[in-house]
């Protein structure tokens, strides 16, 4: 947006939990920044693009703190460009991408390469997450200083756990120098073994090798203890069990700097979805039991789960069109996240404000990045949503390269009408938009 450019979003319901605001109002954007929100925001506005948002919700741009953009190395699954398009289509104005690329993002070079691609795409903000250990091997720490200087906002070995407690302890201590969160993929590989499904009645019935809830909980417990020991900021990725939720509740009650996220699929689906051996439901951590799902929903409502993150994991057809045992783990989530979260609100599992907060302000705070709020001075990252529009999920129409979604054919309510990043419309009415907004 060039200097002096103005954008007026008129008459929408502005839902901004961080500002404590939920009101029908106008939102004025000047030079890529929120200038005013209110009934008279349009005052003094000439030469302004106007978006009529009557009947729509005006939200802070959604922020996803856990996506896999697959570039460099797995460009056949997704690239920064296609991932950014998917994000924009899903209403996300910022995503944080995990480092399990090839080569892994354990140094400035890969970080800069990702940021360059994001800049070329010129769509949404991309925050790279660097590795905890060199090469994600779980032995030596990666150079956090290098990573942070190049632009990383957090470190994680996601995809893999850091099995060695001693290594994790040192990494947590070192992270304090940079005040970045360490995102932990909690999975004790010895307990998980060669399991592919949640250890429970469904896996027993299907004869699938089991992954016990303990595999996650043992490591969540460890990270809580290490957080207490080191005083570092620990963020637990993709929480999936009720045991993990209990551990997190106790950690927060104690005041430890432990945060957590859950995915829309873990909040919506259970292991029953696996019946029929549909590999679109194969994910790590696996879909769990109904009791686990309910505990996750309650935890989200109470704030024990701070944020919702998709763990968007695109795969090629050849990776998924295999026997369940050997199919790749993961499903795409950017383009279905918002309506799935709204579904939780509609069925009463969570309040609307908590849900929006979990998709905007909380992720921004955890990553330490601007955004997630629409107060004057905040970057104009805005998502416009039609809360009433119903649509059927068709992965063939996704902007992501990945088609691996277990929600194929689902009828969902709530559609992103426009995604605005820094005052620039990057997605509107089903179309990715390049270029600058026009002035009348």
């Amino acid at each position: 947006m060039s200097a002096g450019q103005r954008l007026l979003i008129r008459g929408g319901r502005v839902i901004d939990p961080a500002s404590g605001r939920d009101v029908v109002a106008d939102l004025l954007v000047v030079d890529g920044v929120v200038a005013a929100v209110g009934q008279d925001a349009a005052a003094g506005g000439t030469g302004c693009e106007v978006i009529d948002a009557a009947g729509l919700w005006v939200l802070p741009g959604l922020i996803d703190l856990h996506v896999h953009l697959r570039e460099p190395g797995y460009e056949y699954k997704e690239t920064v460009l296609t991932g950014a398009r998917a994000a924009a289509a899903g209403g996300f104005t910022a995503v944080a991408c995990m480092p399990n690329t090839d080569p892994p993002n354990d140094g400035a070079a890969v970080t800069r390469a990702i940021l360059r691609k994001a800049e070329e795409a010129a769509l949404v903000r991309v925050y790279p997450i660097g590795c905890i250990t060199a090469g994600q091997q779980g032995q030596r720490m990666a150079e956090f200083g290098d990573l942070v200087a190049a632009g990383c906002r957090a470190v994680s070995d996601d995809g893999r756990p850091v099995m060695h407690a001693g290594v994790m302890r040192r990494a947590l201590e070192y992270s304090r120098h940079f005040d970045i969160p360490v995102i932990s993929h909690c999975e004790d590989l010895h307990l998980a073994g060669d399991g592919v499904a949640h250890e429970g009645a469904v896996a027993t019935r299907l004869g699938l090798k089991p992954i016990p809830a303990a595999a996650e909980e043992v490591m969540v417990a460890r990270e809580v203890v290490l957080a207490r020991q080191t005083g570092a900021r620990v963020h637990i990725a993709h929480v999936s069990t009720r045991g993990s939720v209990s551990l997190l509740a106790a950690a927060k009650a104690e005041g430890l700097a432990v945060t957590a996220e859950a995915t829309p699929h873990h909040l919506t689906l259970t292991d029953e979805a696996i019946a029929g051996f549909d590999t679109a439901t194969k994910v790590n951590p696996p879909l769990r039991s109904e009791q686990d799902r309910e505990a996750l929903c309650r935890a989200l409502a109470e704030g024990i789960i701070d944020a919702i993150a998709t763990d968007h994991a695109p795969h090629g057809l050849a990776d998924k069109d295999l026997e369940f045992d050997v199919a790749a783990n993961g499903l795409v989530g950017l383009e279905t996240a918002l309506p799935l979260v709204l579904r939780l609100v509609t069925e009463g599992s969570c309040s609307l404000h908590r849900a929006i907060d979990a998709l905007t302000w909380r992720p921004a705070r955890i990553l330490g990045v601007p955004g997630g709020r629409l107060a004057p001075g905040d970057p104009a990252d805005v998502t416009l949503v039609d809360p009433k529009e119903a649509w059927t999920v068709d992965p063939e129409k996704f902007f992501s390269k990945g088609r691996n979604s277990p929600f194929r054919g689902w009828r969902l309510t709530g559609r992103v009408r426009a995604t605005i990043v820094g005052g620039r419309i990057v997605f509107r009415d089903g179309v990715i938009v390049g270029g600058e907004s026009r002035c009348a």
């Binding site: 896996a203 027993t204 004869g207 029929g276 051996f277 026997e323």
Partner: protein
């Protein structure tokens, strides 16, 4: 007309009791053919049946092969080590290549659960599950049910026990489904490390100790302990298993004298079952093998006829 309308046999879980009975009754007819001088009927003449075995198995494959030949079908064996599968061809590619040669039925055994379902969804020909990982082994359960019914006249109201490595056993799962659907009471037991959660959801009652189970049983199915799978992790040694959990003469004294013993084979003599018990008068083990051919003939016959009527969607929906 037969009660069978499915294109595939993927498992017992999705079958109705009438369908199971249809197979058992047809198997009774087929059994007679094996007693003739000329053990062949022309009904599947000109049909091609491919035995696609990714897991080594002589007995099941031979049983299917004999069944196919007795129905005059052309039987082709494809084993994982002998085909491009060992060179890393995907399962679906292997199957599609085979399908291009127009088989009528593919009998598949694979180490991964859900493999037959994957094939059934994609291939136009009929698919028979000869064992998919720890999930199901439908023809085994059918021949077990046939054997029990042949000897005792019924299945309804009987108490049948299944003992051993339940967690890894596709035979256990299929047996539980079949016996429950036909009205039997099913007890399962084994060492704690081999009992998976949620068996009650399948309709079986957990009685972990063999000693407690034996007095209640009409029939006992002893499961094979697979040393090559467990190694040292699920139980410490073969010796300890045989001592604590094996079915020997001593333990057998706790059972009713009329107890019948079954085993899916191959037997580990002296491990899960003592030789004198396996060869004793209570043992139905060899009857199981004989009946296996008859049951498989019945399955092949019924699938050949059903092919026209059922759709792929019916089969998959039933599996879900």
């Amino acid at each position: 007309m037969t009660a069978w309308a499915r294109k595939d046999l993927l498992g017992i879980e999705e079958l109705e009791p009438e369908e199971i009975l249809e197979i058992l009754n047809t198997a009774g007819t087929m059994k007679e053919i094996s007693t003739r001088e000329i053990k062949k009927v022309p009904v599947l003449r000109g049909k091609t049946v491919v035995n696609l075995f990714f897991e080594a198995s002589t007995r099941t494959r031979v049983s299917f092969e004999i069944a196919e030949k007795r129905l005059s079908a052309d039987s082709v064996n494809v084993s994982a080590s002998g085909s491009s599968v060992s060179k890393g061809e995907t399962l679906l590619d292997t199957a599609r290549n085979l399908e291009a040669m127009r088989p009528d039925i593919i009998v598949v055994r694979h180490g991964s659960p859900g493999t037959p379902h994957l094939l059934a969804r994609r291939l136009a020909c009929s698919v028979v599950n000869a064992g998919d990982g720890a999930h199901e082994h439908p023809t085994q359960a059918l021949l077990d049910a046939f054997t029990i019914r042949e000897r005792l006249g019924r299945i309804e109201g009987l108490t049948v026990g299944i003992f051993g490595d339940i967690a890894h056993s596709r035979v256990a799962r299929s047996d539980i489904h079949a016996l429950r659907k036909l009205g039997a009471r099913v007890l399962v037991g084994g060492p704690p490390t081999m009992i998976p959660p949620g068996l009650e959801m399948l309709g079986a009652r957990l009685v972990p100790r063999l000693e407690e189970m034996l007095p209640e049983l009409d029939v006992l199915v002893v499961l094979r302990i697979q040393l090559e799978r467990q190694g040292g992790t699920l139980f410490p040694s073969a010796r300890e298993y045989a001592t604590l959990f094996g079915l020997g003469r001593e333990r057998l004294r706790l059972a009713r004298p009329e107890l019948l013993i079954m085993h899916p084979g191959p037997i580990n003599r002296g491990l899960e079952i003592a030789p004198e018990v396996a060869d004793g008068s209570s043992s139905l083990i060899l009857d199981q093998v004989t009946n296996g051919v008859a049951v498989r003939m019945a399955v092949l016959y019924l699938l050949s006829g059903a092919h026209r009527g059922a759709t792929v969607a019916d089969t998959v929906r039933g599996a879900a």
